[in-house]
Symmetry: C2
Subunit: 388 residues, 2 copies
């Protein structure tokens, strides 16, 4: 079987408002983050399946015949994507050498790839191909990097297998799949997420597939994304909020209600920005909501001095920031206005780097998974995908 | 008429929790602040009434005969303290030279003194006397300095006039009046506050009179009081919160509910501390409430970088702070634990002075107005009251 060459990409995810409150039944706004994961799939005649993951210095290769042996005689082409094929997963864990405690990124990425590859191609000939993945996203930072990877895998392998058509027309630089095909991509990406995370919410792969903000049309917003590089444990932070809620329910419950209202007000404002002319007042509201939510997250006890510094440093340039995700360090987002001068952005980025932080100028609300023509992908990304 | 010599003092006031929320119908905890205003009243035979206010470099003196002329023939001894004697006040404003726009501290202090003096003594002989007032409180910092002054005036002049007995017994160093006498002191002090402020809430003079926390028994808590010396307008800050509430009612109303619950939880904790053995856990709760409320005040937009600095500097020494009063600069309080070592306190005070702040080690929850024996008053205060 010969497969078609394709390049796809999927965005990361940032929480605009509602982190932590979502654990207690409140609204959260998850939006696509335009730091993307790119995947190039090439047909080969080597009789091999190769996976290159330069972000984590991983280059793997298997003989097709070796992979064929992992399929049981009874395995039929996997149409049902709601449940994981437990028997296949068990064999793959053994093949990859995963013991229970071994959950490193490389093993998980390998497992997700092989599972989707064998599930989609297992009923016919296994094609030889090479897959190369490069991501602009930091891993393990709560920015949906594993979901972006799973979405790319699903889109590329589904397209290669012929299960969905390649959407890219001759002259176009990028193209997206139809709604029905995206649903299939999303369901396979969710399988990948389950393999990697055990019990994912499904939000990250949905944002990676559809982009924007779930269920809503949103404007593209310029942001800075900053990684304070302060390590944190999401589990400990979530437990801390729960303890506070148990200790002071009459104080903390209204805080969660307030955050819920912030998410709803933000959603309403973003909706207005897509249906009427965008004004400075829209941005004023977005900035106020960011400031209020950041202080609310401090009330919940998930702030950190590094995040206070982020807020102070950016406010000195007139920019408003909040943590995104679990808090306690980790990442923050800074809203940029359309009129914010690039010199201001560059100075701010420099200030933040001087604090020891990593900083990216990017946007939120951009498109989900898409196919690219090779010429439409930035040279630096192409160089990572297919080094010369 | 010859009056009795006496020395009295009254405490200032700090808001422990609930500032701003109180404007919107929520509970606020006003507590006595043990930075006190001292007043010494001496009988003289000079035929003069003298007022010395060394804090504001004011020394005034009038002939008793001159003051007598301000009383109309129809004026009777003022028993009814609910309403101001508008005619007397008009004459006094003219006498002191107060035009509508002229509301300086010296004029207001003079007006309040003369009003209470003439009201209490006007029906009989006007006694010659001298009054000297020295305050440990900064003025205009939202710490109830005018109320402490009015309470001292009321207590000393009521005692001098014989309207209430001097409570101090021979061997005692301090003494307080009975409940009924304190009610009379409070009602006259409220008159003074009305003259000085126009439309006071009555909270400050009540705290100055009764001390502690209104209606509740509270433990004495060690604190640092810090004045950031950043000037602010209470009116502008209150209006800012109101604007935010109007703009984002669904977000800010829960914040006010949360602050209300903080005040109630604090009240409950303080009550427990008076009825059961005080534990570290009581202080843990008080500290958490301080932290949460400080961030809530930031949500309301009444924080200030100088207050963030206060919190950061004290937290570096393991101490918890919040703004007290209007915010936007002004004053903050820092809770000290009973076991907090004096070396830690001294280092913290030095850190705060290095920030350019004024800082006092004092306490909250102490006694209200009291009479002092001359030997029970600190030398530095006596020196200010009666310089040699």
């Amino acid at each position: 079987m010969h497969v078609q060459h394709c390049i796809v990409s999927a965005p990361g995810k940032a929480i605009l408002h509602g982190e932590h409150a979502v654990v207690h039944g409140k609204v959260a706004l998850a939006v696509s983050l335009n730091l993307r994961t790119f995947l190039e799939l090439k047909a080969t005649s080597s009789g091999k399946v190769c996976v290159d993951l330069p972000n984590i210095d991983t280059s793997l290769s298997w003989d097709v015949s070796e992979l064929r042996m992992l399929l049981s005689a009874s395995l039929v082409k996997q149409e049902e994507t709601k449940l994981l094929d437990v028997e296949l997963l068990r064999r793959l864990r053994e093949f990859v050498g995963i013991t229970d405690g071994n959950l490193d990124t490389r093993s998980m990425a390998t497992l997700a790839f092989l599972y989707i590859y064998l599930s989609l191609f297992g009923s016919g000939d296994l094609p030889s191909l090479s897959v190369s993945v490069w991501s602009e996203l930091p891993t393990g930072a709560g920015l949906g990097s594993s979901a972006a990877y799973s979405v790319c895998l699903a889109a590329a392998l589904l397209t290669a297998s012929g299960a969905i058509p390649a959407p890219l027309k001759d002259s176009a630089s990028t193209a997206r799949w139809c709604q029905e095909d995206m649903e299939l991509i999303n369901s396979w990406a969710f399988q990948g997420e389950k393999i990697i995370h055990g019990n994912p919410s499904g939000v990250d792969n949905a944002v990676g597939t559809w982009g924007g903000m779930l269920r809503f049309l949103v404007p593209l917003l310029r942001i800075l994304l900053t990684n304070t590089k302060v390590p944190r444990s999401t589990k400990v932070l979530v437990a801390g909020v729960k303890d506070k809620l148990n200790k002071f329910p009459s104080i903390i419950n209204p805080v969660l209600d307030s955050v819920d209202a912030i998410s709803c007000t933000c959603e309403k404002t973003l909706a207005e920005m897509t249906s009427e002319p965008i004004t400075g007042e829209h941005y004023n509201v977005l900035e106020e909501l960011i400031d209020i939510n950041q202080t609310q997250l401090n009330v919940m006890g998930v702030g950190h001095p590094s995040l206070d510094t982020l807020c102070r440093v950016t406010l000195a340039r007139g920019l408003h920031s909040k943590l995104t995700g679990a808090g306690g360090g980790g990442c923050g987002i800074t809203l940029l206005r359309p009129e914010t001068d690039s010199s201001v952005v560059q100075s701010t980025v420099q200030d933040l780097r001087d604090c020891g932080y990593e900083c990216w100028e990017t946007s939120i609300g951009g498109p989900g998974v898409q196919q690219h023509s090779p010429t439409s992908v930035k040279d630096e990304v192409m160089e990572r995908l297919s080094p010369h």
